[in-house]
Symmetry: none
Subunit: 409 residues, 2 copies
């Protein structure tokens, strides 16, 4: 039995929970992990930040580090979050079309197929500009509305068309017998004709037919709308058919995130998306207000990753300090298990996601407190949780909250 199945088999019925008003909190500081580097005085942002609340909590918590996907593997946000949500990210493929659609807050359902798309300029059947002169988003939005009006359905498949940024948009295909695994209509170079989508296998043949028909009809609809007189489709992919948090673990789950990408990933895992504000304080207050409605809450803070990608050490420090300052809002709710970690590291010296293990703090009444007085990469190296794959974190949180049965007698 693999780890995931073992955990699922041991989840207690709600009636056997230690109490009814359960709250597990997964607080993700995106990209929080960093590395010591001479450019920043061999300190990490977590080491440089003043974090009185985290320091105090660290002493009463178990520390460790998590590896997002596998040794040496740098994850994108998709696999990194799937790991935190208890899935083995090596086993689940999230196609680019799916990420694009959830990244602009589209309502992607089981069985749906999604594609990234963009407007292009076509002349005499040849793609002369794959980005249609980089139109403003409002211009693309108008054309999306036109396509939606004229092309709401092909055969028995419903089309949902939503603008992204600039020349980009996304398309959801919703209907029976659709599947991912269809090649792009985008030729990927200018001065080539539009490509014909081809199915990887028999399952995707209907999807290929619908995609080609949409491609053809869209060019008809856009005739005369130069420079936006064509479209190109890429990354046609199926929403992964994965069981959600409630189905797997019986946890009524909510997500508090300001960026569509993370809201979308949480939705793939079956979480409800809560309305919240843009600040850390507002996100934490949203948790406090909804605490009694959900058993599990994922809270996503984006600022740490953005600062890391900009190589802005001081900003990363100040986002960490802001989280620390607002932390009492969460602590006052006395969650049964609280994990504070990141989806991956984004070292300021690299300005990129990286493979480095992410610091983890896990607090509960029976967490095996480390007594370590700070929450940093170096203290986490020495904690009782060790260094392990992210996909095991959720099981540890449930164990700490008393939600897992004994295995065997």
């Amino acid at each position: 039995m693999d780890s995931e199945k073992l955990v699922e088999s041991l989840v207690k019925e709600r009636s056997a929970w230690p109490h009814e008003n359960m709250s597990l909190v997964l607080l993700v500081l995106d990209g929080v992990g960093d590395v010591r580097h001479p450019d920043f005085g061999y300190r990490t942002p977590l080491e440089a930040a003043e974090t009185p609340h985290l320091d105090e909590l660290a002493q009463r918590s178990a520390l460790g580090r998590i590896i997002p996907v596998d040794y040496g593997i740098t994850p994108g946000s998709g696999p990194a979050h799937l790991g935190l949500f208890g899935y083995d990210p090596r086993e689940i493929e999230i196609g680019r079309g799916v990420l694009e659609a959830v990244g602009i807050d589209m309502d992607l359902r089981s069985g749906d197929v999604a594609a990234r798309a963009n407007f292009c300029t076509i002349k005499d059947g040849i793609v002369v500009d794959r980005r249609a002169g980089r139109p403003a988003t409002e211009v693309s939005a108008e054309k999306c509305a036109l396509l939606q009006r004229e092309l709401g359905r092909i055969e028995d498949v419903e089309l949902i068309i939503t603008v992204g940024k600039g020349h980009r948009f996304a398309v959801i295909f919703r209907g029976p017998d659709l599947a991912g695994g269809v090649s792009d209509t985008d030729p990927h170079e200018n001065n080539e004709p539009v490509s014909t989508a081809e199915a990887d296998d028999a399952n995707a043949e209907k999807t290929a037919r619908i995609v080609n028909e949409f491609q053809r009809q869209a060019v008809e609809v856009l005739a005369g709308h130069e420079p936006l007189n064509g479209i190109l489709l890429r990354g046609v992919a199926e929403r992964p058919r994965i069981p959600g948090m409630e189905e797997r673990y019986g946890l009524r789950s909510a997500a508090i995130a300001t960026y569509p990408m993370y809201r979308g990933l949480a939705k793939l895992a079956g979480m409800e998306l809560l309305q919240t504000g843009q600040s850390v304080e507002e996100e934490f207050r949203t948790y406090a207000e909804s605490r009694s409605d959900y058993d599990f809450t994922f809270i996503h803070v984006k600022g740490t990753d953005e600062a890391g990608e900009d190589g802005n050490f001081d900003r990363k420090v100040s986002v960490i300090e802001e989280v620390d300052q607002e932390l009492p809002i969460i602590l006052e709710q006395q969650p049964d298990a609280l994990a504070i970690t990141g989806d991956h590291s984004t070292p300021c010296c690299m300005k990129l996601h990286s493979w480095h293990p992410v610091p983890l703090l896990l607090h509960s009444a029976h967490c095996d407190a480390s007594g370590l007085t700070r929450f940093t990469e170096q203290t986490c190296n020495r904690g009782p949780l060790g260094i392990f794959l992210s996909m095991h974190l959720l099981a540890l949180m449930m164990a700490n909250a008393g939600l897992l049965d004994k295995f065997g007698a």
Copy 2:
């Protein structure tokens, strides 16, 4: 997708590398790991050695420990090195014949089958001395030359015969449709007749026939050469068909090792064998001179293991100090990723290989420096790399050198 396949799928094309003059160095101090034991004052050789260069490097490096094969498993040199070369050593069998052949520097090629062999004394069809009175190597070498002259080929199979030590030699069978999985002609006890080699399955039937024919003809050729008037064959095995470093990772790879066994193992992994001298200094200089010709260099130092197997604590300390003294030769070349570790532990108190995790130091520009001031078993327990299986080390080295793409978006 398993870890090996995942890594292979993410290796960047050479054109996308951070720069062209790449150098990854895997410096293996054979058996360097040790354990604290009262017989040696509860210190390990790494703790007792004076290592100013390693101490300085440790502060700027990431530390950890690697488990050669699996928890509690004591590896031979074969599996231990396969792990370091990025293979799962639990999945690859290296037969004794293959180890014997590569261990005496024979040129074993894909499709070859190899056997361990020895001279014996036969009387009236019965093996009366399985070791032929333990002849000197020179005597065996003469008989090997005789066999090679008289028995260069059987059917369409070429035979290559090379003397080992004392009564031992090895035979390579080279030709179409050969396979390992053939029982020994060695009866494994005196006063028994020579056994008939039998194929484990249909694939090995031709090999069994050739082996039996060689066994029969060799006894004819040696008639009258008492006490070396017979031969016995054991451990008939096929060279493992494993993809090499360049095929898997696109790394032009070289090995610097003085002992045939390690040269042979490196060759199985597709590395080129460089000419070098017997001393640590000469080995390191060989790296410096060849740095621009290879992307990956494996350097093997044997002395630590020999001292461990002799239980000679002081000599193990002095080999470590010798490595430390010459280390600047490597450091001056500024490798993009440098791993210093062992293939396994060989504790002086055990005089044997052991299962204990091996200290690991990994240096690169983005290694996540530990700030720990020594390179010992105990400091490595507290480093950011944790304790993990050796087979993941190569992926970490490639990640540190910027050779792996991001996984997912």
